[in-house]
């Protein structure tokens, strides 16, 4: 038959249900593709062949017994390594957790397994999700499948690269300031940050608790919608107090016309000095593609968006400092040997377990929460958060979604951005979404005229209107394909067909 990387997640699930191939054959093809491709891509921190084959065998047995199969039946999936999955380590790409064995399974992971998915491994990331390039992983970098001298973005870089290189059709990532959407953009795949509260975070190692959200990567909007259904189908998760009831209807009406719907653009943002010409051209193509689908383009304003990075780098590090205080070397995590006092053990375990960026973020958070400093930054940042949220509310009074770049540039080279605060600025267009909590999705719109690397458009929608947002994303994807600019479902050319025959 064909190589498994030509199949969408939806096609795999349909093929397994129809008996065209077994879940076990698909699992073997995925493990074979990883074997052939991951030497160059390095998307995985750990593969879980045994778990994969067990899950696939269970799917095949269920089919043989005449049971109804789930919507992700036999679909190989990768999980960002901050998600617990019993039978794997959960390292957060940190020396702190290098040997930490998952003691339970995260709800988001479990729900994909309940839907029939085959877990093939844990994906690389920036350490504790602090970063935009996956370069801060304590173990190894991940390469962009479109050009292995470039980064895949981050922090969910492994999850994006695994999908882009055809190792898996679907993966999960987490997004605190753009960590799903930006790597999706860099790797030429679709990545969605759902509305805050749509997907349970139980069992996902916390970074910024008022910002973190889990979401899927796929090679098409349809596959992302399929994964979203699985993630919300179990209803509200009582193990995560932020979890909300969301209908699992993301595939319903996905192909419907968007004629007469409105998309907002912010002209001033496109003039930002950080935006490269090729990204500007990509966004012009996206706008034209939506107009070709009958979407009306209106001008909107998000006047406080330029302060979003400042607000984020108050809120994010403060919450991270609080969350990462649990890594004291006692119950889990790296423990410094031969210490005579607990205080010494704590300070040295944290000094030697955490990498440079994890230390920086926690130091910044510790400072911002200190008495006398809190009133100058933390409290005002939460007030600015109100202003940003109000901006969105006003903007969505006159449009169904906002169109903007995902990232100001395409994927950069390893080592190209070495200054931490310069790296922070690359989250310019994604971060305000996390601050307000509404959903966003990154959709490939073609290759850059200068770099030859994938360029993406981002659509942001109102809170809990992720269904409409995906419908708009699908219209954009369809129109971009009709214009011959990008073909959904395709793998980065250098890796297509390498291992993974089905």
């Amino acid at each position: 038959m064909a190589n498994f990387d030509t199949l969408s997640a939806a096609a795999i699930a349909a093929g397994v249900k129809a008996g065209d191939f077994s879940a076990t054959e698909v699992a073997r093809a995925a493990l074979d593709a990883i074997e052939a491709r991951d030497g160059e891509v390095q998307a995985f921190l750990q593969t879980s062949a045994e778990l994969a084959l067990e899950a696939a065998a269970a799917t095949d047995a269920a089919r043989a017994a005449g049971e109804e199969l789930g919507p992700l039946a036999g679909v190989p999936m990768a999980y960002k390594d901050n998600m617990h999955l019993v039978g794997t380590r959960t390292t957060c790409a940190s020396k702190m957790l290098y040997n930490y064995e998952s003691t339970f399974t995260a709800t988001c992971v479990q729900r994909t397994l309940d839907a029939g998915a085959t877990p093939v491994g844990k994906a690389n990331m920036d350490e504790f999700a602090f970063g935009s390039s996956t370069e801060s992983s304590a173990f190894h970098p991940t390469c962009n499948p479109w050009d292995t001298t470039r980064v895949p973005g981050g922090s969910s870089g492994g999850s994006a690269a695994a999908v882009a290189s055809g190792e898996v059709p679907l993966s999960l990532g987490s997004d605190t300031g753009g960590s799903i959407r930006q790597p999706a953009s860099f790797c030429g795949v679709v990545g969605m940050k759902p509305t805050y509260g749509a997907v349970s975070r139980y069992g996902v190692v916390a970074f910024g608790s008022s910002l973190d959200q889990v979401g899927p990567f796929g090679r098409s909007v349809t596959d992302v919608a399929l994964a979203m259904n699985a993630l919300v189908a179990g209803g509200r998760d009582h193990l995560d107090s932020t979890s909300q009831e969301v209908p699992a209807n993301f595939l319903d009406g996905l192909e419907d016309s968007v004629e007469g719907m409105r998309v907002g653009i912010i002209s001033a943002l496109m003039e930002h000095e950080a935006v490269t010409d090729e990204v500007r051209k990509g966004l012009e193509a996206a706008r034209a593609a939506l107009e070709a689908q009958g979407v009306e383009v209106v001008e909107v304003e998000l006047p406080n968006m330029t302060s979003a990075i400042a607000a984020y780098y108050v809120i994010g590090p403060s919450e991270a400092f609080s969350n990462l205080a649990r890594f004291d070397g006692v119950r889990f995590g790296y423990q410094e040997p031969n210490c005579t006092t607990l205080a010494e053990q704590t300070a040295l375990s944290r000094a030697h377990g955490f990498g440079a960026e994890a230390k920086r973020r926690q130091m910044l958070g510790a400072y911002l929460l200190a008495a006398g400093v809190y009133d100058k930054y933390y409290y005002p940042a939460q007030q600015v958060r109100t202003l940003i949220t109000d901006d969105y509310r006003r903007a969505f009074e006159c449009c169904d979604a906002i169109l903007l770049p995902t990232s100001p540039t395409s994927a950069f080279h390893f080592g190209e951005i070495s200054d931490p605060t310069q790296m922070y600025a690359s989250d310019l267009f994604t971060i305000s979404n996390n601050i307000a909590g509404n959903g966003g999705v990154s959709v490939p719109v073609g290759l850059g005229s200068t770099s030859g690397m994938p360029i993406a458009a981002q659509l942001q929608g109102p809170a809990f209107k992720d269904h409409t947002l995906l419908r708009m994303a699908r219209a954009l994807e369809r129109s971009i394909e009709e214009a011959g600019l990008a073909k959904p479902g395709t793998v980065a050319p250098a890796f297509a067909g390498k291992g993974g025959e089905l």
């Binding site: 930490y100 509260g197 004291d328 070397g329 607990l342 920086r360 926690q362 200190a370």
Partner: protein, 105 residues
Amino acid sequence: MALTREDVRGIADYARIALTEEELDEMTTYMNEAVEMLQPIREYDLEGVEPTFHPIGDLSNVMAGDTPNAHGRSLDIDVALSNAGASQGRTFRVPSILGDEGGDR
């Protein structure tokens, strides 16, 4: 006013991260650059603006009965201890919390 190396040493002590002298130099530079980046927050007139601490406004704490394993999510003791650097019997093992100088901070 810029943060000094001694300020940063104090923050590291509070954050319980034992930084080396070399790391302290780098961290001081970083902290000052990062704080500079946050200045837009201080330039707002925020009189009368309510803060938003959380995207979902009406969350409340989840309470549970004071009974063992009320939500069925408690770990078995051997599982809970399995990732610990040091344990003894049913407990995590830690060095002296008082130490030679007679007190933890």
